[in-house]
Amino acid sequence: MSKVKVVQYINQFFAQIGGEEMADYKPEMRDGVVGPGTAFAAAFGDEAEIVATIICGDSYFNENVEEAKKIVLDMVKSKAPDLFIAGPAFNAGRYGVACGTIAAAVQDELKIPVLTGMYKENPGADMFKTKVYVVETKNSAAGMRDAVKKMAPLALKLARGEKIGASCQEGYMPNGVRKNFFEEKRGSSRAIDMMLKKLAGKEFTTEFPMPDFDRVEPNAPVKDMSKATIALVTSGGIVPKGNPDHIESSSASKYGKYDIDGVMDLTEETYETAHGGYDPVYANQDADRVLPVDVLREFEKAGKIGKLHRYFYTTVGNGTAVKSAKAFAAEFSKELVSAGVDAVILTST
């Protein structure tokens, strides 16, 4: 296996150029290792070589981001490395933000695998942990050995394109991508351990941090319902009998668009549910219980609504990934908009 070529980015302090007074140091590239690079080189052994180190002042970077990025990217490009390492920045805020920013830029624009490291409270951590791998380090340079120990093996894996395991196995901060792995102890035992820690007021780590959900501003209401076109959408899996498009009973990979022009009522002979997550008997007997076409047709006839849109959209909401459902809806919403639909009734089971 050929040696992995690495370029490392560090700040003026770790390059031993100076402290705050030298924070405006312009980017400079030197051959080989500088400062912490020595420790990394030792950890890499014969597997990798740091061919160049780029030094940049934290103030210079943060005050001239676009320019600094361009200069550093050109420097990295000129060395054509297999891997780029930034930091580790420990708890130095501007350094952490610089590391995250430049690592993300190298990854996105030069398509080279990148790795950085910092303390969990470094502002750069929250900003970048979902964009690049950020190894969790201690909060000061006294944790350099610990940082190198975690970063070096992960760096080699990234450079070689090997499969990256779960965050707790590889040492990076959880980045929103859930990865399965096998623990030593079974779940019940881990639950008891966690409970004992929690009861004793000791620190423990949850295996799944609760998410924040983003919000969307509500749209203005429909002005004149008697003239409005209303469309029906459902996650309850209502499909024409026989499920012609084979929408899956769980983890749906697709949605269906079906024409109900002239259909006044959904019957046991014509419609069914594909959804495997609830007792299907009632929906199969009368799919209007999930997709209320019959009553909306009544409303249409009575002039309560202008018209029921001719197509309905359906998918199965059973264990279907949020990202998939989001993508389906983003796609068919475009059709709803161009068809001049005024409002949507979305039913779920």
Partner: protein, 426 residues
């Protein structure tokens, strides 16, 4: 309540002309088992097969897995209210044929039965690949309605497990373990300095193939209540569901509930396992509110310091889970919840349908959407084509070389939420 479990280790199953246990081998008369199962006129045919760890065998669609047990001393018999008479179990002595199980399969009932591979990568995701399995392939008579079909298979599995368990009645146990749950007063007096920890088990109760039975009572019809943890060891709680094979609690999981066993093993040492409660996961919002209010009320009344909550299933039950957690936390009682995740095939979607910042201590059984290729097995017991329609499968997922592409969702017990497995995610 004090229950002694006598474990008789089974290292092999052999079909034979006589049913008995000898030197660690379970000999089964297939004819006797067939006759037993055929007592139900809804059964058109039944085949009996054996699947051993390491064999190139795939069993699908799996409905339930049951461990053979028999009550040797003490009131009642196993699976009270369902097979046995309604009588409180959980005390005395029970024998367990450890290392084996009855697995039911046959024509698919609904969408969410499972797969058990006895070897290969799939075997790592299910504890059932490590057991000697007696497999019943039960085909229903034509025109049988789904609710009746499920009932028929359920009863057949329980009857067979009880029949096999009976063979252990007079045997000498290879190992014994004693479990004793004390009354509230007794445990408080005996362990005044240990934290009072309870277990709240959530039971799936949403209708066809989503039901659980407690002493024969459909859990959806019950208010949340207290149960002695040793009662589950005699089959007081059993499965009528397949809520996606990966997180369905089979009857085997109920009999061997790891939260119960692990809490008992810490009881008197690091904690006081003060109480076990059960609650349901119903389809009406009012029921969810009522059941979770009740659980929180009980936890407070029982003076618990902490409650471990296990879920069954996913989707709308995530709301029951979060309600139970939040309401108990709001009483000042600490919770740890055990769940699993549906984070999409790439692991980036939100894992649970509901959330709350108070749920800060979570144990996960892993992401059920992760895709795995299960290689071709030499033998399939059951119906392979089921893998296209069961939850976690999809049309066309059986490849020309016989391997199948599926989500972990299809593997029975893969992401189990009573914490049986070691699979997790970060």
């Amino acid at each position: 309540m004090k229950l002694t479990l006598g474990y008789i280790d089974i290292r092999d199953i052999q079909l034979s002309n006589e049913s008995k246990v000898e030197n660690g081998t379970l000999y089964v008369s297939a004819d006797a088992v067939k006759a037993l199962v055929m007592e139900d006129e809804n059964v058109a045919s039944v085949a009996v097969d054996v699947a051993r760890p390491g064999e190139s065998v795939r069993i699908t669609p799996v409905k339930d897995v049951i461990e053979p047990r028999v009550k040797v001393e003490g009131p009642g018999s196993v699976f009270p209210g369902m097979l046995g008479k309604v009588q409180t179990v959980g005390s005395g002595r029970t024998h367990v044929l450890r290392g084996c199980a009855v697995v039911t399969t046959g024509k698919i009932v609904g969408f969410q039965e499972g797969v058990i591979d006895m070897t290969g990568p799939g075997a790592d995701y299910t504890l059932f690949s490590k057991l000697m399995n007696l497999v019943l392939v039960i085909e229903p008579k034509d025109g049988l309605k789904q609710h009746e079909h499920e009932h028929t298979i359920r009863m057949a599995g329980l009857k067979t497990a009880a029949y096999l368990g009976e063979l252990a009645r007079s045997l000498k146990a290879d190992e014994e373990e004693v479990f004793e749950s004390l009354s509230i007063k007794e445990s408080a007096e005996k362990y005044p300095n240990l934290p009072r920890v309870g277990y709240l088990q959530m039971l799936q109760s949403q209708g066809l193939l989503h039901d659980t039975y407690v002493y024969g009572v459909d859990a959806k019809k019950s208010l949340s209540t207290i149960i002695n943890p040793t009662e589950v060891m005699d089959g007081a709680i059993l499965s009528g569901n397949c809520v996606s094979a990966c997180d369905k609690n089979t009857t085997y999981h109920h009999l061997n509930n790891p939260v119960v066993y692990d809490l008992f093993r810490q009881h008197g040492k690091t904690l006081n396992f003060a109480a076990m409660m059960i609650t349901n996961e119903n389809v009406y919002l009012a029921d969810k509110e009522r059941s979770s209010d009740w659980s929180a009320k009980m936890a407070e009344f029982l003076g618990l310091d902490g409650v471990i909550i296990s879920q069954e299933g996913f989707g709308n039950p995530d709301t029951d889970l979060i309600m139970n957690c939040r309401k108990i936390e709001e009483k000042g009682i600490k919770t740890v919840i055990i769940t699993d995740e549906y984070a999409g095939r790439d692991g980036t979607s939100q894992s649970l349908a509901d959330a709350n910042p108070l749920a800060d201590a979570v144990v996960t059984g892993g992401n059920a959407n992760e895709v795995i290729i299960l290689p071709k097995m030499d033998k399939v017991i059951g119906h392979l084509e089921a893998v296209e329609t069961i939850a976690g499968g999809f049309a066309g997922n059986i490849r020309p070389d016989g391997s199948i592409e599926v989500e972990l969702q299809v593997i029975t017990g893969a992401t189990n939420e009573v914490g049986f497995g070691t699979l997790s995610a970060r």
